[in-house]
């Protein structure tokens, strides 16, 4: 196992910068997820680490060796692809054994190691079949087996769960995490699904347009998003943004939304050097129903009954607010309710820079 270090790595494709001056340290045995929307550069970053692409600038190290220019096969990494990329003309056993045969390992060793990997993934009975005869979940485990059997320094996984159906996907999240815990591996995982990133990672890196927006533990990124993009990307349903301005009020502050409502805020939350125009962010799960003094009257537009919880879509004026409620909540369309936004849960952002205001 080894650590990984990106040192000011840049990668261009023609005029487009796919990865922009990336610096990232991944510790040994860490499960790091690269997460972001399509085209944000996370897959390119993974390919750079794999050696399938070469950086235009910067240095890439695995285990303290600089690996620029080193071909993928010599980097001692293993990769699982979104499409699994199993060799269709070979049986499962040969698929898993492929890398070892290339290395010309003795046959006995190959037998032993393939069996070991197969047992770990519960695919021993599939060894003599061909990929076309397997289900999606089984193919994915074969792809994992092919990666595991090589005992690599780093595991690279490129959206491995995207092609699975929803139920299997959620189950595999736990299975994968347990597997890599057992192996004690360094893992770099790429996904566009923030739920995957949150539930599986030790730390995650949020990407946008080739630049890392924030690196941190899932909880940290959730509780302290550094900019509006991260706040919006992490957490489901997405955070609510309300534009408005701040003014002093009675020893504290008052936030006036661009529409009709206001929120009174105690003194300690706002700093003096903040701009007057701000964006207020509040997560759906932090909004509660209440008729207390500081509440906002809204109208219910839509209810999403998930069974375990209910998501309410409400409007006040032109502002939409989404909140989560526990199961059993039931409102009528058009009904008026009162919401309470707790000041301690509010995230403030600068509308121009989109950065968090501290």
């Amino acid at each position: 196992m080894a650590n990984v270090k990106f040192d000011h790595v840049t990668k261009r494709f023609g005029n487009m910068i796919a990865v922009n001056d990336l610096s990232l340290d991944i510790a040994d045995q860490e499960f790091m997820t690269l997460v972001g929307p399509s085209g944000c550069g996370k897959s390119t970053t993974l390919n750079l680490l794999a050696g399938l692409e070469e950086p235009d600038e910067g240095e890439l190290s695995i285990g303290d060796h600089v690996v620029n220019d080193v071909p993928p096969g010599d980097r001692n990494i293993a990769m699982v692809f979104q499409s699994y990329a199993l060799y269709p003309h070979m049986k499962v056993f040969e698929n898993i054994a492929f890398g070892l045969r290339i290395q010309k390992r003795p046959d006995a060793e190959i037998q032993a190691r393939v069996k070991e990997a197969a047992e770990l993934l519960s695919i021993t009975e599939l060894l003599s079949r061909k990929p076309a005869q397997l289900s999606g979940g089984q193919r994915q485990r074969v792809a994992l087996g092919r990666a595991i059997v090589r005992h690599p320094d780093v595991f690279l996984l490129d959206e491995p769960l995207s092609n699975l159906d929803a139920i299997l996907r959620i189950q595999m999240r736990a299975d994968l995490r347990l597997l890599f815990n057992r192996l004690g591996s360094t893992v770099v995982y790429v996904t566009h699904d923030q739920a995957e990133a949150m539930t599986m990672s030790d730390r995650l890196a949020v990407f946008l347009a080739g630049v890392i927006q924030q690196v941190g533990t899932p909880l940290h990124v959730y509780e302290q998003p550094e900019n509006m993009f991260v706040a919006r990307f992490i957490g489901s349903p997405s955070i609510n943004f309300i534009s408005g301005h701040l003014a002093s009020n009675d020893g504290g502050y008052r936030f006036t939304a661009n529409d009709e409502f206001t929120i009174d805020l105690p003194a300690g939350i706002i700093k003096a050097d903040w701009p007057a125009e701000v964006v207020l962010g509040i997560r759906p799960e932090d909004i509660s129903l209440s008729t207390a003094d500081n509440s906002i009257g809204v109208q219910v537009e839509l209810m999403e009954q998930l069974g375990a919880e209910t998501i309410l879509h409400t409007t006040v004026g032109s502002q939409k607010l989404v909140l989560k409620q526990e199961k059993g909540t039931n409102f009528q369309h058009g009904e008026n309710v009162s919401l309470f936004i707790p000041p301690m849960q509010i995230h403030f952002f600068n509308p121009k820079t989109e950065q968090r205001l501290m």
């Binding site: 196992m1 690996v67 220019d69 080193v70 071909p71 980097r75 001692n76 005992h151 192996l183 004690g184």
Partner: protein
């Protein structure tokens, strides 16, 4: 670090220096480029030599080492071509016959392919016809050349344009049907379902909806059929003599026991070949797609 008890720690791949890898990559790349250039040269040099030969003085044909670039370029060979009796007519024949047979093959073939693709005939006719059309492509036309010649003779069509037009149409039909069948089957039938509901006839659906969608296939088959009609030799020499003769026959006629008239022959050959090459260049996307379609699933 062992992950499971009892398994040996694998040897890791040897990590060599970065410059080693960089060098290896560069060298392989350059070797590949050199080889590619060699291949291209081998493909091109005969053709270029042909063209250059057409500009050489007669004296320069019979030298050792052979002359590559003409030292005193001349248009004399082309002038000699122009002096061939009826040469204009022979080119015209070639053009007319190739065009007419292409038109027939593509129109009749596409219509037939469309019917095979969309209509389910009784008695497994669809499969029977498709297989039969495939089979006609399998054996060489020369195997039926003799009875075919007799047939044409009995019809009084010898040395008439119509003979070759019919012949080449029948050569091209199987290929056109086969290629267009593939194209039509690839067009989702949903597009036509809407039109069916609107009450259109089959012909209307064919001409207004399906054909435009299958345009690449049409282009490919048109060009390939034209090239075949333009280039064909054997049946041209069998079925024509004076009036409907095509240029390939004229060229072959230059091979006499008295040695070859290299200059005129090359010039005539170049004049025959260049239009086709230009046509192929312009339409290369469609051409290549049509040619490779049979071999590779899209």
């Amino acid at each position: 670090m062992t992950t499971q008890a009892g398994v040996i720690e694998p040897a890791r791949p040897r990590l060599r220096s970065r410059s080693y890898y960089r060098w290896r990559r560069s060298i392989l790349h350059w070797v590949g480029n050199v080889l590619t250039i060699v291949v291209v040269l081998i493909m091109l040099i005969p053709f270029i030599w042909l063209i250059l030969t057409t500009f050489k003085q007669p004296v320069e044909f019979l030298t050792w080492p052979p002359v590559f670039f003409p030292t005193q370029p001349t248009l004399g060979n082309y002038q000699d071509v122009m002096k061939i009796p009826f040469i204009g007519r022979f080119f015209l024949n070639t053009l007319i016959i190739a065009s007419a047979s292409t038109f027939l093959a593509v129109t009749l073939g596409s219509a037939a392919a469309y019917a095979l693709a969309r209509v389910k005939f009784p008695f497994h006719l669809n499969s029977v016809l498709a297989i039969w059309i495939l089979i006609t492509r399998m054996y060489p036309a020369v195997a039926t050349a003799v009875p075919y010649f007799v047939l044409i003779q009995r019809l009084g069509l010898l040395d008439k344009h119509l003979a070759l037009i019919i012949t080449y149409t029948s050569f091209n039909l199987p290929f056109v049907v086969w290629l267009m069948l593939g194209f039509f089957q690839g067009i989702p039938i949903d597009m036509e379902k809407a039109a069916i509901v609107d009450g259109t006839t089959m012909w209307q659906r064919f001409t207004k909806i399906v054909l435009p969608l299958a345009a690449p296939g049409l282009i490919a088959t048109t060009i390939l059929s034209f090239i075949l009609g333009w280039n064909e030799f054997l049946f041209a020499v069998i079925l024509t003599s004076l009036k409907a003769k095509t240029v390939p026959v004229v060229i072959a006629g230059f091979i006499t026991d008295k040695g070859l008239d290299w200059g005129t022959m090359s010039a005539l050959g170049t004049m025959l070949v260049v239009p086709v090459i230009v046509l192929a260049w312009i339409s290369q996307r469609y051409l290549i797609r049509g040619l490779t379609l049979g071999a590779v699933k899209e």
